[in-house]
């Protein structure tokens, strides 16, 4: 199971008819059991890339070869739940074959048991994000796509959810792609980091993190973080200088 991506370019035409380059060149491969994290500034084309990788956008230059028959689980930036279906129905809809025990375990991990019969309109954003996560994991994905799953949550909740994601990812050997602008999330969750440039996006650097997630100490994390920050900010200073 392996994802091979070679996006040569993606242009986007806005309502006024002007052309914008969103992606300049993103090439990478991802193997099963790996968590690849894309870190980049807001508006750099990350979500566009995700739409291409999820097979929602076919209008680009280049090639994406997704493993044949791979089940995709995706968490969009907004929860995108069906407001007219209960939490449990939302999850069961995409995973009709999931058995009750596994679903219960998943709801337990994400602390959703009390909300099974609620409608999404009755949930806070943090809860809705957890339902979106439950939905993505319920399909037992071979390819998991997470688009800023922790954005706009308070730190404590984000940290808890991050641990839950790490737990679920390590539990099964999933090919995971996480997009974030939060370096802390990236360093704690990723096996390999890809630093993206501002729009149009291209990969500035690829940083493997050899230490397994569970064995990363706070000191190691801080070291990697400062390395990443230096690279990101360094790039910005270079750009400003030129």
């Amino acid at each position: 199971m392996r994802l091979e991506v070679d996006i040569g370019g993606k242009t986007f035409r806005n309502a006024a008819g002007e052309q914008h380059d969103v992606i300049a060149g993103v090439t990478f491969t991802l193997d099963a059991g790996e968590v690849g994290v894309f870190v980049g500034p807001s508006g750099c084309g990350k979500s566009t890339m995700i739409r291409i990788l999820a097979g929602l956008d076919h209008d680009f230059q280049g090639r994406v070869s997704r493993p044949v028959g791979a089940r995709v689980g995706i968490v969009f930036q907004e929860p995108r739940l069906l407001p007219w279906r209960s939490v449990e129905e939302n999850v069961r809809l995409v995973a009709p074959l999931a058995d009750d025990a596994r679903l219960s375990a998943l709801f337990e991990i994400l602390e959703l048991n009390a909300h099974r019969n609620h409608f999404p309109g009755e949930l806070s954003l943090g809860l809705a994000r957890r339902v979106a996560l439950a939905r993505a994991f319920a399909v037992e994905p071979d390819f998991l796509i997470l688009d800023e799953p922790l954005a706009s949550l308070d730190d404590a909740l984000a940290a808890r959810l991050r641990d839950q994601i790490a737990m679920l990812v390590d539990d099964r050997s999933v090919m995971t792609l996480l997009v974030t602008h939060d370096v802390d999330d990236a360093v704690r969750l990723g096996d390999r980091l890809f630093l993206l440039s501002p729009r149009p996006a291209r990969v500035l650097a690829e940083l493997p993190i050899p230490t397994p997630r569970s064995a990363r100490g706070e000191a190691g994390i801080a070291a990697i973080k400062s390395d990443v920050m230096r690279r990101i900010n360094g790039d910005i200073t270079e750009r400003d200088a030129s």
Binding site: A54, V72, R80, L82, P83, W84, E122, I145
Partner: protein, 245 residues
């Protein structure tokens, strides 16, 4: 309770108006009730109401099914919208009378002609509403369904249909009231039974109590259907919406 009060006010104002206008112009409630009981006793009332209801049910179902399908297609497929739009505008603005008369001329004074004419009158209304509904479908939920590879039927049932439900309800609500009105005209012009026919006959004989007896029992049927069928369905469809305080 407010409904009962509203009914009492209606009855009272009718009675007062009849006292002011005289029994010849506006018969009082007891006079109409006598006519109603006589009509019900002979069985004619139920026969005619039944005939009208059957026509309404058939024409309504036909127009809603066809109209919803065409409207959905026009909302989703640009070419279908471009092709269908002139027809739609023509049908929307065609007087009901023209459609009914033409249907009777071309298909004879038959049941098929009557039902088709009623359905054609309601059809554009359903098409327009459902087209708006299909245009307003949330693309982000569509993407979600595609990304999770939901089967087509499942997407339609759980993602598309609930979004169309308010539009279907609106089309049904306004369509039903349109059909109630048109069915009587169609019956008046070319059917030997039904509420419309009876009202036409009562008009020619200036039998105002009979005319009112039929009009009111017809109105009662509409009210009952609205209360027992249309409103509960609407409530059920919108149960997921957070209630306003």
């Amino acid at each position: 309770m407010p409904r009962l009060l509203s009914f009492a006010i209606f009855l009272a104002s009718w009675w007062i108006a009849s006292l002011l206008a005289g029994d010849a112009k506006l018969p009082s409630p007891p006079t109409v009730l006598t006519a109603l009981i006589a009509e019900a006793g002979s069985g004619a009332l139920f026969f005619n109401l039944g005939a009208t209801l059957a026509r309404v049910a058939l024409a309504f179902t036909l127009a809603m099914t066809l109209g919803a399908a065409i409207g959905y297609l026009m909302g989703r497929v640009r070419l279908a919208d471009r092709l269908g739009d002139p027809w739609l505008i023509l049908l929307l603005n065609m007087p009901a009378l023209v459609v009914i008369v033409l249907a009777y001329i071309w298909a004879g004074l038959t049941e098929v002609a009557a039902i088709a004419a009623i359905a054609i009158n309601k059809l554009p209304n359903a098409v327009v509403t459902l087209r708006e509904g299909a245009r307003a479908l949330d693309a982000s939920l569509d993407e979600m369904a595609t990304a999770f590879a939901l089967p087509r039927w499942s997407t339609f049932r759980h993602v598309v249909l609930p979004q169309l439900a308010p539009y279907i309800a609106a089309a049904a609500r306004s369509g039903l009231s349109l059909v109630w009105k048109i069915v009587l005209v169609a019956e008046l012009l070319g059917r030997p039974n039904g509420v419309g026919f009876e009202i036409g006959a009562a008009f020619q004989l200036f039998d105002i109590p009979l005319l009112l007896a039929y009009s009111l029992s017809f109105a009662a049927v509409v009210l009952v259907i609205e209360t027992l069928l249309v409103q509960p369905v609407e409530t059920r469809l919108s149960r997921w919406r957070p209630r306003a305080a």
